[in-house]
Symmetry: D2
Subunit: 306 residues, 4 copies
């Protein structure tokens, strides 16, 4: 039974994601994304589940930066989890009494309209996670009157749901990934995704165009690109790429070997089945069989055969 | 004397930036980036100063999203501000007594090494701004023992600096911009930057490559690209671009008109002098005089002249 | 009644083309393509009809080089003429008697299989034109026994057709163009072609790719590209381009103005209706209305309007 | 002692080229380029020397088409031969007596200025080769008064040189290649050239741009591109490419395997030392060692190693 670290405490959306990704795993809650990943790195856990991006908030930059700079980990699964927020309070609290709300900043952003409309005078304070907010609110002497968190956090910490599905959009989704220390990759399924981090060799004009051309010339479609600062001053960035296909696919292998040749550093973050099950349209000339046939042809040409 | 809104309370890095951008302006502190921008939009202020990106944290996504979705504003100046953090406490506090630290999440990230080393057992709580943290800590009954904030916040709120320059890196910089309601653009200086938001018409493979080609074919160099979620589900993004040059430059005008033609929506966010004073290397054939001469040539060709 | 020069003598395929392009024109036969074009340049004719390319032979390089280097002329019409060759001889000649055949080199190439099969022992001598060959063979003391030429050349010079349609392929076509001194261009028809000559500024790697990108980024499709030596040594070339659209089209105008900016010299050779009547598929964002709308948008942006 | 076929008769520029390429070879003169190549194909010769292009005339299209359509041959050497023309006549002839000149069409083009100036009234007739012209003029009953050919043709056929170096340009060069039946390729020298013929799979807009991108993305520089008609009507072309490097180079191999995958047919025509000895500038990331290192890296990534 694997042991998986995750962003805790109990009751977070990440716990929900973990349960869906691996229902039988032993769960190890951690205080931060970094702590969860470090537990996996150190062997305290067999892996970790962390959020990567949210359809409203965008990238979880802590996760991106941990993947880029920390000890290498490999993504081996992803999950898309619908995100629904509830307004949770200690039994007996009424909405009109709520003066101080505690929740994660992402929830503040995503429930902006509800807060403005229903809690116009409340002070909203940032918590490290939505579940931590619920936990805090559940304490008798808490300075906070309510938390915004997942319904299961309320169940977990004995809070009452004063309002449900209070997000501005009802279709918000967070993408979670399961990572482990380097190990054999998941098998090719035909609906795979690969994630990379790329550092430029020298930040010349056109460098990004060159990187994208390495993908497009092999018919590899990008699904996400994020720029992140290298830390060396404004205007210096590195890049996260998600793209269709598995590194075992010939077109993907040649594309990322091309990136490796022209870029400063390419860090491979994993190939894994897509949560949405979408299969790529393979561009003419870029299927594995076509690469193999071209390799045979090249060998004959190099041997001087007609 | 213009009145400028900014992310307050008094003592924020944003206030420092505002004072440098316009020393004589009347200052209107606001609780959030959104509130500062809305003050400018509503006419309560003549403009606003907000952070756009940080060399460690990356983009300030609230600012990016406000620029993309809110009522249009135009950037007319930028500033690069070195960021130095101090550990601030009420007089009489010693480091060994510090159990609860209050600061903005960006400061938590940027002072991670110091906190681990010097305050390993402290609980660190997220504040809406570093100055707000200092203000809170200055209150007699505050549950927090120290704030991490700018030194001037300490001076402002009567706190003592227990340690200075505690960031992990001493070269951290934040880029601030000054915005106003739409108005005539700053003049071309020869060292200008332009900022855009681009929404795709249809999110086909290669769309980003096509956008970058619109720039590169006119010799316009990108300096920053950020993808942000449109909110319509994982995998749907729009883009922020910064690039060299002023929209009055022929090459820039043709490039963004090209984007406007092939993309769903292009929102112009301003052309303004670069804070670093760097002048672009103009690629052969892309100077204004060359565009003008080519326009004359085309007119002659269309008239059937040799 | 216009007077048109052409590659004579009477009975050439060029004469056929001229009659189809302008049935009422007065015809001025000339000894060479250069002579015909010079007649138009000098005002001895109002224009000229010359071959540009053949579906078997390829480009008529004399024509290409005349267009590139000689006094400027503009193409204002094109014609695709099926080419059929006949074996022509003086009355009384039988195939078995034919020892020396006279014809234009293009006809030698295009009738290679017939000659090998039916005239395996004949010597085949190059003539300046197929009609000139027929004319020569018609002279009583001619050293040649037969000509390969158009059937009408035989009728014209009193020769007998010993075999018809003797080309290796029955679908051979030659493309002819009508040119004049610079004058107002033919109107846009929606099925137009434009022809250019482009000299590189400096022959750097990637120069051709850059030129093609100027076309592709504006959605302009090439229909022909020919490289020709500049004369300055092996490895130095200039280029002929044919592409879809009329120079009055916004996308074509911007593309060739782009070429003009980045290349050494662009010589415009005309915009004219396509002989095949094919209308281009206009790529999203490249129609005239879209260029106009983008121009309006850019003007508003430059004026600082939202 | 190898036996090499060439475009004869004795005294052609091709013979000069052959003597320079292989001074000890037995020489087999042939009536046409096709005949010389067929001699090599059939085993009547060990190889052949033929002209490929001329710095004034451009491509020798017969050679290009033979390479594309005939039984496969491989180029294994090239030579750049300065071309100088002489006016040659039977002893006793004076320039003023010359009424009919015989020579190859390429010589007519290249000596156009001399002919106009010095022989304005002469009729100039096309010969199959310059040496054949000299041979013909040397016959007592020849209808021609003079030939334009290489000086050595005059020596060979007993003609007198009435004028030397009569070409319009004194720096004209012809590029010759030596070919053989398929056999092991010449070794990599570091200054190599590779020649290909490429047929499109389907002639869609942008096909040429895609082909050039296969080269550019691997840092392979084109040195020549020729389009030739496929024979299937105006507007249908295939392409000859010359480019820097040897097919044994990793970057060249990957580029042409890429072409092979996306194109209809790629015919390899040889890798051989450049006559000009120019070594390519290897773009960062495209040297053999970098390809090898990237291959190792990819193998580790695919094995799940960090």
């Amino acid at each position: 039974m694997p042991r998986l670290a995750y962003l805790g405490p109990e009751g977070t959306f990440t716990e929900e994601a973990l349960r869906l990704l691996d229902p039988t795993a032993e769960r190890l809650p951690c205080a931060t994304v970094s702590a969860a990943l470090n537990a996996a790195r150190a062997g305290d856990a067999d892996g970790a589940v962390v959020p990567l991006e949210n359809s409203i908030e965008g990238a979880i930059t802590t996760t991106l930066d941990e993947f880029a700079w920390g000890e290498p980990l490999l993504i081996n699964a992803e999950l898309l989890l619908p995100v629904q927020f509830s307004l949770l309070a200690r039994p007996g609290t009424e909405i009109v009494h709520i003066k101080r709300v505690y929740t994660h900043p992402a929830a503040i952003t995503q429930c902006r309209a509800y807060i403005s409309r229903e809690l116009p005078d409340a002070v909203v304070v940032s918590a490290p996670s939505t579940a931590a907010a619920a936990q805090e609110v559940s304490l008798p002497g808490s300075p906070y009157d309510a938390a915004i968190a997942a319904r299961i956090a309320g169940e977990h910490y004995g809070l009452v749901e004063l309002a449900g599905d209070i997000g501005d959009r009802s279709d918000t989704v967070t993408r979670f990934v399961k990572v482990s220390r380097p190990q054999p990759l998941p098998k090719v399924t035909g609906s795979d995704r690969t994630t990379l981090v790329v550092f430029l060799a020298d930040d010349h004009p056109g460098a990004l165009l060159e990187m994208l051309t390495e993908f497009s010339v092999r018919g590899v479609n990008l699904t996400r690109i994020e720029s992140r600062p290298t830390g060396d001053g404004i205007g210096r960035y590195f890049f996260h790429f998600d793209f269709e296909g598995h590194v075992a696919d010939a077109r993907v292998g040649e594309a990322i070997a091309g990136l490796h040749r022209i870029c400063g550093e390419v860090r491979f973050l994993g190939s894994y089945p897509r949560a949405d099950g979408v299969a790529p349209r393979i561009k003419r000339g870029t299927a594995d069989a076509e690469f193999a046939e071209a390799g045979d042809w090249l060998a004959r040409v190099r041997a001087g055969l007609a």
